[in-house]
């Protein structure tokens, strides 16, 4: 009799345990985050580490139970920089009840703008093109736009140049991505920014930039602000170095001081340009591993945890990938904390409340992420860096572009 009781007790306890476990599993939810980007194809030098950053933070979030019992399912797909593939991926993600979408290029963000509006889904692209926001309610830039970056660099030039109004040239990628800041820089100048925009250069795949460099010097240009990718900047820097025309200190007379926005810099520029990258000024909203902080320590530890090589771990594109996933998961966490159902509408609403006391500090950026109805650029602060002895080092403290705010 006693043995039967023992058996019954055992069976009952096991059944109860299984019941509780099953009930808990049934209650735990999975939220889908989709991303389509160029892991191969053009710009994959940025897209590949970016994807790794997103993937690692997604794993980290599940491993560390940042959402409690709930999990995020991150589907990251390669579109090889082809908008048609991006659209196909996006539609497929929508069929899987995606709650937030992480897009990549300027072209595909502009191309799919209407789809995002129709689907009413929040989108965080890797493109910081200000034009992404025009006519869209659902696209949110993770950081200050290229326009804000270019104007911010021009402001730095205006503040630190000695002797009259500084003469600048813009060196742009021949695309919407590159041309984006041009009209905004002109607006800022009209609004009182004290720089003289002497020339706008749209580059090609030039093997020798001697003509351009000499032409700019003939026009007494002293500062070249670039909004493009690393490779053309590297070629210009090499040519300028050969001609002995790179300023060894900021604003050196008779020489060119080169500056650039987010996608012109980082370790990839140093890899391509070698010693010619010395004294290159670069602005971005992200922290760099060459400037140690709690955020960069955590980034490197995460990269080690998931077996990433040193090049990936130290890439600012890896940081950017982590950061967008951080924002997405934080928004989901906040929706959950309020006891609401996690869906594209609630996540969008939560993102727009990410300001004031609710601002988000991801530690991967130089300032907080703030979104609101009238503010759809996440990190407003920018940090200026300069290459010294083959490494990007911070120059001064993070700043917010005054004229970019003024012309908005």
């Amino acid at each position: 009799m006693k043995r039967t009781k023992m058996i019954l007790f055992g069976v009952f306890s096991t059944a109860l345990f299984l019941l509780i476990f099953t009930a808990q599993s049934a209650l735990a939810k999975t939220y889908m985050i989709g991303s389509s980007l160029a892991i191969t194809g053009p710009t994959s030098d940025a897209g590949s580490p970016y994807a790794k950053g997103m993937e690692d933070y997604c794993k980290f979030s599940n491993d560390m139970k940042l959402l409690g019992r709930d999990k995020v399912k991150c589907i990251i797909r390669d579109d090889a920089y082809k908008t048609a593939t991006t659209k196909r991926n996006f539609e497929d993600f929508m069929d899987q009840e995606m709650v937030i979408y992480l897009n990549y290029s300027t072209g595909s963000t502009l191309g799919l703008k209407k789809d995002f509006e129709e689907e009413e889904i929040p989108v965080l692209p890797a493109s910081y093109h200000a034009g992404n926001l025009t006519g869209s309610n659902y696209i949110l830039l993770p950081s200050a736009s290229y326009s804000e970056q270019a104007i911010g660099l021009a402001e730095y030039v205006a503040r630190n140049h000695k002797g009259g109004t500084p003469r600048i040239a813009l060196f742009l990628h021949p695309s919407a991505f590159g041309r984006g800041p041009l009209s905004d820089v002109k607006k800022a100048i009209k609004a009182g920014l004290k720089v003289n925009l002497v020339e706008v250069v749209e580059h090609g795949k030039d093997l020798d930039n001697t003509a351009m460099i000499k032409r700019l010097l003939k026009k007494k240009v002293q500062y070249v602000i670039s909004q493009t990718v690393q490779s053309p900047v590297a070629t210009v820097l090499k040519d300028a170095k050969r001609l002995g025309k790179i300023a060894t200190k900021f604003g050196q007379k008779g020489k060119l001081t080169f500056l650039g926005a987010h996608y012109t810099g980082g370790n990839d520029l140093i890899a391509l340009a070698g010693k010619a990258s010395e004294n290159y000024f670069w602005t971005t909203a992200f922290t760099l591993t060459s400037e140690q902080s709690a955020g960069t320590d955590a980034q490197l530890a995460m990269a080690r945890k998931y077996g990433r090589d040193s090049k990936t771990a130290n890439s600012h594109n890896y940081t950017s990938g982590i950061m967008v996933m951080q924002i997405a998961i934080e928004a989901i966490r906040r929706v959950k904390a309020k006891g609401m159902d996690v869906g594209k509408k609630s996540v969008y609403k939560e993102l727009l409340q990410m300001n004031g006391f609710n601002a988000y500090y991801p530690l991967t950026t130089v300032g907080p992420v703030t979104f609101g109805k009238d503010d759809r650029a996440g990190v407003d602060s920018l940090q200026l860096y300069v290459v010294k002895k083959g490494v990007f080092k911070a120059v001064g403290s993070p700043f917010v572009s005054k004229y970019a705010k003024m012309i908005k």
Binding site: L207, D208, T210, L216, S231, L272
Partner: protein, 297 residues
């Protein structure tokens, strides 16, 4: 005046590199009438092989540059043997389609390596001080690029004009059946054409990589960038590639030097060569030095 001479020097440098990059196109077309769409990928592969041997295997750059030419010679020959040999006698468009497929395959293979998504630059092995005459300067990398181009182009010109193999390659290009009837091995000629094109592509890749840095997108795009050069020169003319290359280089530099940034003009260096190409092709549809075949029925 020194500005003008600087533009001339830069134009010749850029043009020589275009000519060398386009030489592989010409070599294959000259012997098989096939346009190799995957040429840019072979240029990039040659560059990456040189880098791997130099940086990862620690071989001196001069030796690794030659080794990469030899390796690419055999790789291109193998590609021809595996994928294209069985298409001899088939319509040319079929072969071109295969080269498009080949482009995707090489792309895929490169994306599996670190070169697919990472940037590198060659260690600096030439003196950093440029060679200057007055205000006109040229870097050592550029000078060596021009010399290598001159040597290879002279060598191949001699090869096609004087050597038995070169003459048989031209014969195959003219008429495959007639060449076979006099004992020329068409498959061997095709293999050799691909192999030599691979060799020149590696040389071009090595020089390009030194100028632009190692970025796969940039390097492989030169396969397309030099396309107008070889069309302008005449697809089957080595001399044409050189003349058209230098012409394109000079036009680009003069446009960048005198037109861009003035009178509201911008990007003329990119557009003007194509306008010139269109105008010349209106009057000489086979290019400057291309052979105009007359068929008598």
């Amino acid at each position: 005046m020194s500005y003008f001479f600087q533009l001339v020097v830069s134009g010749i440098v850029v043009g020589s590199i275009y000519a060398l990059s386009g030489l592989g196109f010409v070599l294959i077309y000259k012997s098989s009438r096939v346009l190799n769409v995957a040429h840019g990928q072979i240029i990039a592969s040659g560059c990456f092989i040189t880098y791997s041997l130099t940086v990862w295997a620690g071989i001196p750059i001069y030796i690794s540059f030659l080794m990469s030419m030899v390796i690419t010679f055999f790789l291109a020959m193998s590609v021809e043997r595996i994928f294209l040999r069985r298409l001899i006698g088939e319509p040319i468009i079929s072969v071109i389609m295969v080269t498009i497929g080949l482009m995707s395959i090489i792309d895929g293979i490169i994306y599996l390596t670190p070169f697919g998504s990472e940037n590198y630059s060659f260690p600096e092995f030439f003196p950093q001080t440029p060679i200057s005459v007055g205000d006109v300067s040229i870097s050592w990398t550029q000078l060596v690029g021009v010399i290598i181009t001159a040597v290879l182009i002279s060598g191949f010109s001699w090869f096609f004009k004087k050597s038995t193999v070169g003459i048989s390659m031209r014969a195959v290009s003219d008429d495959q059946l007639a060449s076979m009837s006099i004992g020329v091995s068409v498959p061997r000629v095709f293999g050799l054409a691909w192999a030599t094109a691979g060799l020149t592509a590696a040389a071009a890749g090595g020089i390009l990589g030194n100028i632009t840095g190692l970025n796969f997108d940039v390097l492989q795009s030169f396969g397309i960038i030099v396309f107008p050069v070889v069309i302008l020169g005449g697809l089957d003319s080595i001399l044409g590639a050189v003349v058209a290359g230098v012409l394109m280089g000079l036009i680009q530099q003069f446009a960048a030097g005198y037109l861009d940034g003035n009178w509201g003009l911008n990007g003329t260096a990119e557009v003007l060569p194509y306008i010139l190409l269109l105008v010349i092709l209106l009057f000489k549809p086979h290019g400057l030095f291309g052979i105009h075949e007359i068929e008598r029925v």
